[in-house]
Structure formats: C-alpha cells, structure tokens
C-alpha cells in the first residue's frame, strides 16, 4: 500500500504545526522522518494514523481517503505513538490479544499470531507479566508488538528505538528493515545514524515544511558540494607541500593535522581533486600513503537545513 499526502496543513492556535506538505511513500519503502523537536513530525504521524484530521489537504492510503473511510484504512496501519502509551495494568499477552481482536485478526489465528509476535519481539520471558512491571526496553518491545500484531501493510513508528540498549536497537533496526521489504514504513527519529542504517529515503522537516527529500546519498551530495579529504604525504616539509596543494583547482583550504605529513583538504572538485592530489605527488616524487575522502556527515546537513 502506498501513501499519498497532498498539501497537508494542521494549525494549532493560529500557528501552523504542519504547513502545506506533500509527499509520497511507495510500497516497500522505509521513509525516515527527521526534524528538530516541534518541527511537525509527530503531528504528521498523528494525521497519517487517522488520530487527527488535518485542517487542509488530504491523505490517501492504498487509494482510500483517510477522512472518508478511516475504519477501512485503520485496519492496515500499525502505529506506535510517541511515548509508547500502554495499558500498564494489563498482562502482555492479554493486551496483545485485545489489540489483535480489535484490529480484526480472525479469532482462530490469534494464538498463532501471538506466538509469532512474542518470538519476533523477544518477549517470551516477560509475556505473563503486567506491562507496568516491565523495564523501558521491554515496554518499547510491547509497543512494537502491538503495532505489528495484525501484520499491517503500513507501519508508522514515532521514535521506535528510544529506551532500547544498543543490542536491542540493532535487533529492532533489522526487524524494521525486514518488514520494510514488503511493507510501507514511516519512522521518525532524532538519531541520525539510525536513519542512515534503516531508511531508503529521508524527509527532513523544519517548522512544518519539508526542507529536504531524498536518499541519504543524494542528501549528502546536495548538502554542501564540498569534499573533505584526509591525506598523508611523506617527503616534503609542511612549507614545501602547502603551496602546491592549495594551488590545486577547486581546493579551498589545506590544514595540517595530527601525524607526520598529514593534511585535511577541503575542495569542490570531487574526483578531479583526488586525481590532482595524486598527480602532484607523482610529479614531485612525494610518497602518498593515505588518501581518504571523508563524507559530509548527515548531521551537518541536518544542522544546515534546520538551524535558522
């Protein structure tokens, strides 16, 4: 099922939390939603999950308009809200059974589904405990389990990995990737490496508007257009090497860094710069022992786009 969002706006007390955004998510795509706090991520997710109606605009999921046929759409959505709200007085299995029943899983299949989801989310040891007694990480797993129990076509996860330890984070990411092969997943997060590790596409929103949309690679390329190179050149002294390096076309700065003959170069040329550095060394008879292109980090792009 695909999701189409057209000109969506949501206004709180005359302030637009979501301001005329449009995007599309295709089946089998994992979309990462990035943005600073209060950018409108959660509001958008609340609208997509049919919790709130937008002021303007429309959302259609699998061809159904969510305002016209919310019930038909809701069955296909698994939603993990922000802060992972759960009924703390209920035992895990009972809660998941309740959710499965509500989401329309046929009664005969519920025991089988429960077994499967408990295994998938690693809840076997805790399944008879009351949810309120679980640790934060296990609560988060229950939150994921309740979103997945009815095998939804669309998964909307608001910060799915908060409160998990590093091992669990890897597990959950793999789980999301696995699910994302056939289903449509939208997840929001603050953790940038997480987006890179899991998402096919990134949407950065700031102050209710989409400021970037693309794969992690395209975003990186569009980010600055600059390339950082780390090189180690043995032979010349700092003074001898500095001038020729800076004269390379497109080179904007040359900084000596820690280590013998090591420099950080910033340039605009891409491949041409790397080639020029190599040729320079060959011409001068220097020994080039290191030439590492350092990628522009996603954090920088994020900050560049969202700092006002």
């Amino acid at each position: 099922m695909d999701i189409q969002v057209n000109n969506l706006s949501k206004i709180y007390d005359s302030r637009a939390a979501v301001d005329n955004i449009s995007f599309e998510v295709k089946t089998g795509e994992i979309l990462g939603f990035l943005g600073p706090n209060g950018a409108g991520k959660t509001t958008t997710m609340k609208i997509l999950s049919c919790y709130m109606a937008p002021n303007i605009g429309s959302v259609s999921i699998g061809g159904h308009n969510i305002l016209e046929t919310p019930e038909a759409v809701k069955q296909h959505i698994g939603y993990l809200p922000e802060n992972n709200p759960l009924y703390h007085e209920m035992p895990v299995l009972e809660f998941l059974g309740f959710v499965a029943e509500l989401q329309g899983v046929p009664k005969t299949q519920i025991p089988h589904r429960l077994k499967e989801i408990v295994r998938m989310c690693g809840l076997n040891r805790e399944k008879h405990k009351k949810i309120g007694e679980l640790s934060k990480g296990y609560k988060q797993r229950v939150g994921l389990a309740q979103a997945l129990i009815h095998d939804p076509q669309i998964l909307i996860l608001d910060e799915p990995t908060t409160g998990l330890d590093p091992n669990q984070i890897v597990e959950i990411r793999n789980l999301i990737k696995e699910i994302g092969k056939e289903k449509t997943v939208i997840l929001s997060t603050h953790i940038l490496p997480e987006v890179e590790a899991t998402c096919d596409r990134i949407l950065i929103i700031n102050q209710g508007k989409i400021v970037a949309d693309g794969t992690p690679e395209t975003l990186r390329n569009a980010g600055q257009g600059e390339e950082i190179l780390k090189v180690q050149i043995l032979g010349p002294s700092l003074n001898d090497a500095f001038e020729p390096l800076l004269k390379i076309k497109g080179m904007t700065s040359v900084d000596p860094i820690e280590g013998e003959g090591r420099y950080q170069l910033i340039g605009k040329g891409g491949m041409a710069t790397r080639e020029a550095v190599f040729r320079l060394c060959v011409d001068k008879g220097w020994v080039l022992t290191e030439l590492t292109p350092i990628e522009t980090r996603l954090e920088d792009i994020f900050r560049e786009l969202t700092l006002n």
Partner: protein, 241 residues
C-alpha cells in the same frame, strides 16, 4: 457491535484486575445491607416486607459510586496517551464511548444482581410486591445508565480523574437535589419543567411500581445526551489537537 463488546470486555476486566469491582461489590452490599436489615428503619421495625428502604439507600450509594467508576474512563486514557493508540485502531469514537458505557453498566448490573438474595429473603419472610421490586431494580438501572453517561462525559472533559469525579458528582448533585429544591420555590411552567428534570422525582415514581413512559424516556434520553456529549469530547481532538 463486535468491537464494542471487545472494548467493554477489556474495561470490565480492568475493573476486576484493579480491585475496583470487588471494592464496589463489597461496599455496596455492606452499605445497603446495613441500612436494609440492621439500622433502625429496617423492615423488622416497620413490620412490612418492602424493598423501599433498600432502593433509597442504593440510590444514594450509587450517587457516589458511579462517578468513582466513570472518572478514569476517558481522563486516564487521555493522560497516559493510550487514547491515541486506542482511537487509531480499527474502531470509531462511538464504539469507544459505548464500550466504556456498557462496561460500567454491566458492573452496576452485576452489583445490583448481587442484592437479589435480599429480595429472595424478603419474599420468604412475607407477602412481597413483586412488581414493585422489579420496578425498583429497573429504576436503579435506568438511573445508573443516565448517571454513567454523565460520568463518562465528565471524564472526557478533562485528563484529571479527580476533576472528572467532582464534575460528575456536581452534575449528579444538580439533577438529584438542586432541581428538586429549586422546583419547590419556582412556580408555574418553569417550576414543573425543573421538577421534570429532577432524578429523584422520576426514580421515586418508578420505584413505587409505576412505570410511566415519561420516566423511562427521561432516563434513556439523558443517557443518549451524555453519550453524545462524551463522543463530541473525543471528536474535539480534531479541532484543538
């Protein structure tokens, strides 16, 4: 319909898991039993087999117990955020409200059913007006139904359970006493209108054994009004957020 039943079942289960149901049952049986069988005006003193004193006490006990049941229904879910996950499942707002209402009504029904031994013992003791007994129970159920829907509405107004409790107590108090008191000092059409809105007038006539369609309609329409208002509270999230 199926969804309503799933929701109601869970709410009912929660009442029993959280001991609220047991406390209600024990306290209700204790209080009504004490006033019906032991305290001064009991049937042995009057020398008459009647459930009237029981109905009166039950009426007042429910006045305090029902807000205690309904206060958490929506307020707690709002506070913990579970309302969001509930409303994003394959249910609509109506089903949620009605499920909660039915759970409370079933618990009250169960509590009242637990007092049937009172009735059985009395009919063993002497000649019993079975019709009046039936009407008394019917009246209590109708009254509870209206009061529960008011309680759920009050619970939907806030995310604080205490506020919800006090609100429904206040609304109940208005219907139970205030309208009665005001009606005595206001004459004419307005006076009879206010009197018509009073719970006690309607309840008394039913519990005396007279089923007047006006009384039934009064409680049923009040129930619907409460439920509609409660549902409107849920819909409000679209406007306010």
């Amino acid at each position: 319909m199926h969804n309503i039943w799933i929701l109601a079942k869970r709410e009912l289960q929660t009442f029993f898991d959280s001991l609220i149901a047991y406390i209600l049952l024990i306290a209700f049986l204790g209080i009504t039993g004490f006033f019906t069988w032991i305290l001064g005006s009991d049937i042995f003193l009057i020398g008459q087999v009647t459930l009237q004193p029981f109905f009166q006490v039950a009426f007042w006990t429910l006045f305090f117990f029902i807000p205690a049941l309904t206060m958490r229904m929506i307020a707690e879910e709002k506070k913990t955020g579970t309302l969001e996950s509930l409303l994003t499942r394959a249910v609509n707002d109506w089903q949620v409200v009605i499920g909660k209402y039915l759970a409370c009504l079933m618990l009250i029904g169960l509590t009242l059913a637990a007092t049937i031994p009172f009735y059985l013992v009395m009919s063993w003791l002497g000649p019993m007006d079975h019709g009046a007994a039936f009407c008394g129970y019917l009246g209590l159920m109708l009254l509870s139904s209206a009061y529960i829907s008011i309680g759920i509405f009050a619970s939907g107004l806030t995310n604080n359970q205490i506020v919800a409790f006090l609100l429904s107590l206040f609304i109940g108090f208005t219907f139970l006493l205030l309208f009665d008191i005001i009606a005595t000092s206001v004459s004419g059409v307005l006076g009879s209108l206010i009197h018509f809105l009073s719970f006690s007038a309607h309840f008394e006539s039913i519990s005396r054994g007279v089923i007047d369609s006006r009384d039934v309609i009064f409680f049923v329409s009040l129930t619907f009004l409460g439920l509609i208002l409660a549902e409107m509270q849920l819909v409000k999230r679209n406007v306010v957020g």
